[in-house]
Subunit: 308 residues, 2 copies
């Protein structure tokens, strides 16, 4: 049996990268041969977390075939969010907290999804079930994932289980969750110096909704105006992506992590679905979604419904 | 929130019915409102188990809409194996041990699949994780499921985890697994008096494989010749099913639970896939598959591969 590679989704975020690292650590402790890899470079928030806890970033891969014949997916399951040649290998496990779609296997597998805010919260349970101690470093990484996915416990995706896992992990990691968390989120919300292309791909995910192909990119910021001055350039780049990739809709979500509101810029033939889903009107391709911070819980289901 | 209905697949077998009962019991102990139902009458093996442990058979339903807006699936996930109007309700949990296919949600959910021989083996873990005691009756039902799915631990789907779960459950249920198990399997293998239609639907499952629609029915017997004398009538009925339901392939698997070999009768345009998958020739629409007892592990993946 070849080594199992463990990875999260494309345009990796903190949960995707740290969950691959934490689960590879768990597998190694269980005597299995596993390596965490990633489908892209860590973003600045993740880089901050890795640096803080002294962990090397995982190796970046673009394709899997030839490397191994079996993989474990963390923090995603939809094929279009995974490695491009995922069909060439066998998925033996999935640990995830998203909807299930565009995912299919020929054989039974271990699939563990829970409707919690973060993959790390599920991993925290699995560590206990397998009786493997979580080290200070691994706890720090897992705590970072929960803080990231829950926007420091403020996202509607955040459950009591996420909060209690974070408390346990903060104790093991010997950090104050609020102080460390705000510093980490601010590192990730530092967008100055990013190119338009970087802003649109930093945390972008593709979805099949009904018969439409939709891409939703999201950035967190402490100063939305910094991005809104770039709106014309952003729209040109979005229109080009729609054209090149035959998208029906592209949604760029600018989330203010201090006010917990989002401004969205959207283009594409199916822009009607946003108006319908959120009962909003667009001005200049822009609209406000008050209280919306979670793509997974506050955007994807509503748009899927409108497009189905 | 309305009551959650819990059910397994169409043409229910012992694992599907007892897992729904056991999980509904667990949910009730956790203070949730849940009812086990089934998508058909229990077969004779299941009826034996229910009777032995003094449990009433679950209510049979044909459609779910209007009854509740949320359901839990056990022992299956593929849409065509589930209740006909499954799209009308929200699937909030799945506990299963099969491949994942033709399954999609709009929201995150609790999905627990493990590559073990039986759903009850996974439930046995969940009872422990939730700290709920398994009663003598529930243990008897869960043990019956493991014996059924593993053909008394002889199927290649049977894992060490199934065996150790069965040992624990037999102790709680206060039965000898081998003695009780053989009696239960024999009750289910009693096919005399069954009509041709009953034989073909008793344990039939539909699959989408590549672009083909395939149905695979299986019966266990201690005397295959009893069925082989009916082969002409079986073929006529199979041909009619293929015609009526536009199937590309129908496979009828007659498994001898004493020798652990299967005879198959297959008809349909894609019969070539069986020849290719198992490297066999057909004589009179019949062929032998030595050592094959498990549809899930020894037939479905091989046929899926051949048809993809």
């Amino acid at each position: 049996m070849s080594k199992t590679l463990i990875f999260g989704h494309k345009n990796p975020d903190t949960d995707t990268i740290t969950s691959a690292l934490a689960y590879a650590y768990l597998k190694t402790q269980l005597g299995e041969e596993a390596e965490a890899v990633s489908l892209g470079e860590p973003n600045e928030e993740t880089a901050y977390a890795l640096d803080y806890f002294g962990v090397k970033k995982p190796r970046v891969i673009n394709a899997i075939a030839g490397e191994t014949d079996q993989v474990i997916l963390v923090d995603h399951n939809e094929k279009q969010q995974s490695v491009s040649d995922i069909d060439e290998v066998k998925v033996i496990e999935v640990i995830d907290h998203h909807r299930i779609a565009n995912f299919e296997t020929t054989d039974p597998l271990y699939y563990r999804a829970e409707p919690v805010g973060c993959t790390a919260t599920i991993l925290n349970k699995i560590f206990k079930e397998k009786n493997i101690e979580i080290t200070k470093t691994i706890a720090g990484l897992m705590l970072s994932a929960i803080i990231s996915d829950s926007l420091l416990f403020k996202s509607p995706t955040c459950t009591d289980e996420d909060i209690s896992a974070a408390k346990e992990l903060a104790t093991i990691a010997e950090v104050d969750a609020d102080t460390y968390g705000l510093a980490m989120l601010k590192a990730g919300a530092e967008l100055s110096g990013k190119t338009i292309e970087e802003l649109l791909t930093l945390d972008a995910k593709a979805f099949e909704m009904g018969s439409s192909t939709v891409e939703i990119a999201q950035v967190n910021t402490v100063d939305p105006t910094e991005l809104l001055v770039l709106q014309e350039e952003l729209k040109v780049a979005i229109a080009e992506k729609i054209e090149r990739r035959q998208l029906d809709l592209f949604v760029f979500v600018i989330t203010d992590i201090l006010t917990n509101n989002s401004t969205i810029i959207a283009l594409g033939d199916r822009i009607d679905s946003i108006k319908q889903a959120f009962n909003v009107t667009f001005e200049n391709g822009l609209t406000e979604l008050a209280g919306v911070v979670s793509r997974k819980k506050q955007i994807v289901p509503q748009l899927t419904e409108a497009l189905s």
